[in-house]
């Protein structure tokens, strides 16, 4: 089981801010592919040409990052603070 969080424009485009997945994909990349497979708007948001960043347990993580049961995974667009 993993917890997913969506922020900013992603949250608006997906129409939700969070969800719980009852399985745990092997990696961040696998999770992205799974989400992209849900059809519109997910396929647009997680399309290969979109810059969507991921954080695992609140630290930036690449696609090859291994996921573990209970992880929190955040997805968001490039940051614009400051």
């Amino acid at each position: 089981m993993i917890r997913l969080l969506y922020f900013a424009s992603l949250r608006e485009r997906l129409g939700r801010g969070d969800e719980t997945l009852d399985r745990t994909p092997a990696t961040v990349g696998r999770l992205r592919a799974e989400l992209a497979g849900r059809g519109v708007p997910w396929s647009d948001v997680f399309a290969a040409d979109q810059r969507v960043l991921a954080a695992v347990n609140q630290t930036m993580a690449g696609d090859d990052h291994t996921l573990a049961d209970g992880d929190e995974v955040g997805f968001f667009p490039p940051v614009t603070g400051g």
Binding site: A8, S9, A55, V79
Partner: protein, 171 residues
């Protein structure tokens, strides 16, 4: 090294925050600070207000990591980062970064490093409410990536060109 990191919905008073840094002690020789203010124009359009969203928990963790990295590179007495979230208006302060050091060059370098990294690594997002009633998410800027990348791993000075000034581009 004294460290204070805060994310707040209430108005940010950059002057009161700096006063805390000046008071860090009689060994402090110089304080360098950066204050980012909301402008009323972005990409040629008038902006009425802005809403800042963040990723609670990760924000503090990311800012903490940036400060630890700055403390590894330079000799610092005190670092303070305060970032506003929620709705803000033109000319409101958005962020304060204040760094105290016995050496002014180190304070300058550390302060700029922190704001460059904050702009590319801390999970904040800005949504602009335009004067025509529309709203839009602010796009990340390539120049911020270039600025952050200029601080090569562990280096104490920018190691690549930063390409600072692009006419018409913000901050």
């Amino acid at each position: 090294m004294d460290v204070e990191i805060r994310v707040q919905e209430s108005p940010l008073d950059p002057l009161a925050e700096q006063a805390q840094v000046y008071a860090a002690g009689p060994q402090v020789g110089g304080v360098v600070s950066f204050v980012g203010l909301m402008r009323d124009i972005n990409q040629g359009d008038r902006v009425r207000a802005m809403t800042l969203e963040h990723y609670p928990g990760m924000t503090e963790k990311a800012l903490g990591a940036i400060v630890v990295e700055a403390g590894r590179r330079w000799q610092l007495d005190s670092v303070r980062i305060v970032h506003r979230v929620g709705e803000i208006r033109p000319q409101d302060p958005i962020v304060l970064v204040a760094v105290a050091s016995a050496h002014r060059g180190e304070a300058f370098r550390a302060c700029e490093f922190i704001i460059d990294y904050l702009k590319t690594r801390a999970p904040f997002w800005k949504r602009e409410d335009m004067s025509d009633g529309q709203s839009r998410w602010v796009e990340a800027r390539d120049s911020d990536d270039v600025a952050a990348a200029s601080w090569a791993d562990g280096s104490e000075s920018p190691t690549t060109a930063r390409g600072d000034a692009r006419p018409g581009e913000k901050q």
